[in-house]
């Protein structure tokens, strides 16, 4: 129980740093936007319209939120089902990210739904023909699974043997259930858009949208694992598990190659490749998305890139942004032309989105400080934690930028 192993002394004092000020500003604007949402409805807090009913809250908070949480099921599958033990050190952070991600998705939904008080309706009023119905069930069940997968961490922290044992008994079916639910959920977010063949721009509309969403989710799950490890190693002053992350980087490169290859075959098959020659907004957004996917994929095949923490991190960030761009394109920009309208999010939509992201980082930081998430610091960091938690966190540059 030494005190010195935790964070450097400089971080213990609640200094007003630029990032902390930005963090506070985000939360304040988010609070005001929440007030607008509650008292003035969706009309007073968003730029949504009859022609454009889904905006940033669906495309980012829900669709990106779920995708970024994909590390949870990917790593559970790798470590527990395929038994590749060497990745175990990054498993807990992934499960935590996934759990937080899903909780925040539900928070996002509470903002977006016209009647958030009826969030539970799909559980009792069924329509199995609806993809949204499937999504609702997946969110509910998988959040529960993630909670149960996280319980052992809590048990370990407080030394509860009994509950840990119960969870242990059902752990294998639980993990398999979690992987299946994730598979369904990740792909069903793509299936949501199968119903708009005449609206979604052909560079994104595809009958294989569910497959593309699933594969890209695995990729972004791996990328987020690298991203988190990098940030947590800085935040908690841990050593970076570089060889491990480098090999994850290689898996990421292969996954991205598979994704890009399916994407290419799909565009070719549907004969829409000539569209990229048109000088339209969609073309540039498509180019951005593909560029952000292609560059890290090529780079990550180089061993020298994978073994350099900065370069590896940059590649992971590019993949994350590529998938975010993809979800935003499918969920908003790709639908503008087909809907015959333009959509720019209102400031309050952005404020709430940023608040949710910032809260995600802050809660992760707090939980990771309090519970044994990273093995190297498990046991013996109670004191360090006690002093880190009051000041909550430093918002990471990437969270807001």
């Amino acid at each position: 129980m030494t005190l010195g192993t935790g964070t450097p002394a400089a971080k213990r004092w609640p200094r007003i740093t630029v990032w902390r000020a930005i963090f506070a500003a985000i939360l304040l604007s988010g609070a005001y936007a929440t007030y607008l949402r509650i008292f003035y409805g969706l009309g007073g807090s968003t730029n949504l319209s009859d022609k454009f009913p889904w905006g940033l809250w669906i495309a980012f908070d829900v669709m990106c939120g779920v995708a970024l949480a994909a590390g949870g099921f990917t790593l559970v599958a790798i470590v527990h089902i395929f038994g590749i033990e060497k990745y175990r050190p990054v498993l807990r952070p992934c499960i935590l990210t996934a759990f937080l991600g899903y909780v925040l998705v539900v928070v996002g939904l509470l903002f977006d739904l016209g009647r958030p008080d009826r969030l539970w309706h799909p559980l009792v009023m069924w329509n199995p023909h609806s993809v949204m119905f499937e999504v609702a069930w997946c969110v509910t069940l998988y959040s529960t699974v993630l909670f149960l997968e996280f319980v052992p961490v809590v048990c370990e922290r407080f030394g509860w043997a009994k509950p840990a044992e119960w969870i242990h008994r059902i752990s294998v079916p639980l993990m398999i259930l979690g992987i299946l639910l994730s598979t369904l959920h990740q792909s069903s977010l793509g299936s949501l858009f199968l119903i708009v063949p005449a609206k979604l721009y052909p560079l994104w509309y595809s009958p294989v949208l569910p497959l593309l969403f699933f594969v890209s989710a695995i990729a972004v799950g791996l990328a987020m694992t690298i991203f988190e490890s990098w940030h947590s190693s800085r935040a908690f002053g841990r050593a970076l598990e570089l060889p491990l992350l480098a090999s994850l980087g290689r898996v990421l490169a292969v996954t991205m190659s598979v994704y890009l290859w399916i994407r290419f075959l799909d565009l070719l098959q549907r004969g829409v490749l000539p569209l990229v020659a048109r000088n339209r907004m969609e073309t540039w957004l498509f180019a951005l998305e593909i560029g952000l996917a292609l560059v890290p994929t090529v780079l990550l095949y180089q061993r020298s890139v994978r073994m350099r923490p900065g370069a590896l991190y940059a590649c992971a960030v590019m993949v994350v942004f590529s998938v975010i761009a993809n979800r935003l394109n499918v969920g908003t920009t790709g639908l503008e032309a087909g809907s015959g309208t333009h959509y720019t999010p209102k400031w309050s939509e952005i404020a709430i989105t940023l608040s949710i992201v910032a809260a995600g980082f802050a809660i992760f930081r707090m939980v990771a400080g309090y519970f044994p998430i990273f093995e190297a610091q498990a046991h013996g960091n109670e004191h360090a934690v006690a002093e880190v938690s009051p000041q909550k966190k430093e918002v990471d540059p990437v969270a807001v930028g």
Binding site: V76, R118, L184, P207
Partner: protein
């Protein structure tokens, strides 16, 4: 026998009697200002649009296989046997997927309300189930909006085209669009010139989704067996290795250096078997 509406743009004089009757029927306000709004919204469920010399009425198409009803997660939208697509506001949770899915951008939302509902024409379901005409058809002074049996109306539309080929663009809109709609249009000019969507597929939209959704039971059962099988093999291999006194798992971590590697994460199978 499902009900439908036949709207003949060539007979419409743009008097907006249908708009006013519709507002009455829903208990919505209607005045000159609202009459001038040429778009459907939560307070105006049908409208007359002016396209040059031509008028065209917009209202819910009450599709034969409606995308909105298929996507509604709570089943608030239902295709009735009578024809109209009805909406139960008490079920609706406001996900607005119906609005996103509708190829005609018909459903509208009470954006400024704190307890918002989706709004759309339901082809006067209550009136029609009592054998009455829709409010708009009853109010129409020229017969431009006619309500009746869908098959009969299709026959009538084709008869009108055959009788006066010069007066009509030779097709009926709503016959094959997204698998057929319960609002049929006749026009003097090609449909895109009066603002109707001609790019919509002729296959019912719910089929696009169902092709994937119907695979779900297979994906789940195959996946469960596959994952369970892989886990069993992994686990078995480990047990054998242990029994033979080799170090478990090919890429296994070296035996815990820090003395606590064992109880990491979700409890290990390995430990449970000790």
């Amino acid at each position: 026998m499902s009900k439908a509406i036949l709207y003949d743009s060539t007979l419409c004089i743009g008097c907006r009697a249908c708009e006013s009757a519709c507002a009455d029927r829903w208990g919505l306000p209607y005045d000159d200002k609202i009459a001038a709004e040429e778009k459907i919204s939560a307070h105006k469920l049908t409208t007359i649009e002016t396209h040059g010399d031509h008028f065209v009425r917009r209202l819910c198409m009450n599709c034969v296989k409606p995308a909105c009803a298929s996507v509604c997660p709570v089943g608030a939208l239902q295709k009735t046997a009578l024809g109209p697509v009805t909406y139960d506001a008490d079920k609706c949770m406001g996900c607005r997927y119906c609005m996103q899915a509708c190829p005609f951008q018909v459903p509208t939302y009470e954006w400024s309300s704190r307890l918002p509902r989706m709004r759309k024409c339901n082809e006067c379901y209550e009136r029609q189930s009592q054998g009455k005409l829709t409010a708009c058809a009853e109010a129409c002074p020229t017969g431009a909006t006619k309500c009746g049996d869908r098959d009969e109306l299709i026959g009538e539309a084709q008869r009108r085209i055959a009788e006066k080929p010069g007066q009509y663009y030779g097709q009926v809109y709503g016959l094959k669009e997204v698998g057929g709609t319960s609002v049929l249009y006749l026009s003097a000019v090609p449909f895109e010139q009066i603002g109707l969507r001609t790019g919509v597929p002729s296959e019912p939209l719910p089929d696009y989704t169902w092709r994937v959704l119907e695979l779900l039971p297979d994906v789940v059962s195959t996946g469960a067996v596959l994952l369970g099988g892989i886990w069993w093999v992994t686990n078995r291999r480990e047990e054998v290795a242990k029994a033979e006194g080799r170090s478990p798992r090919r890429s296994g971590r070296p035996p815990s250096k820090n003395g606590q590697g064992g109880h990491a994460v979700v409890p290990e199978k390995l430990e449970g078997r000790k």
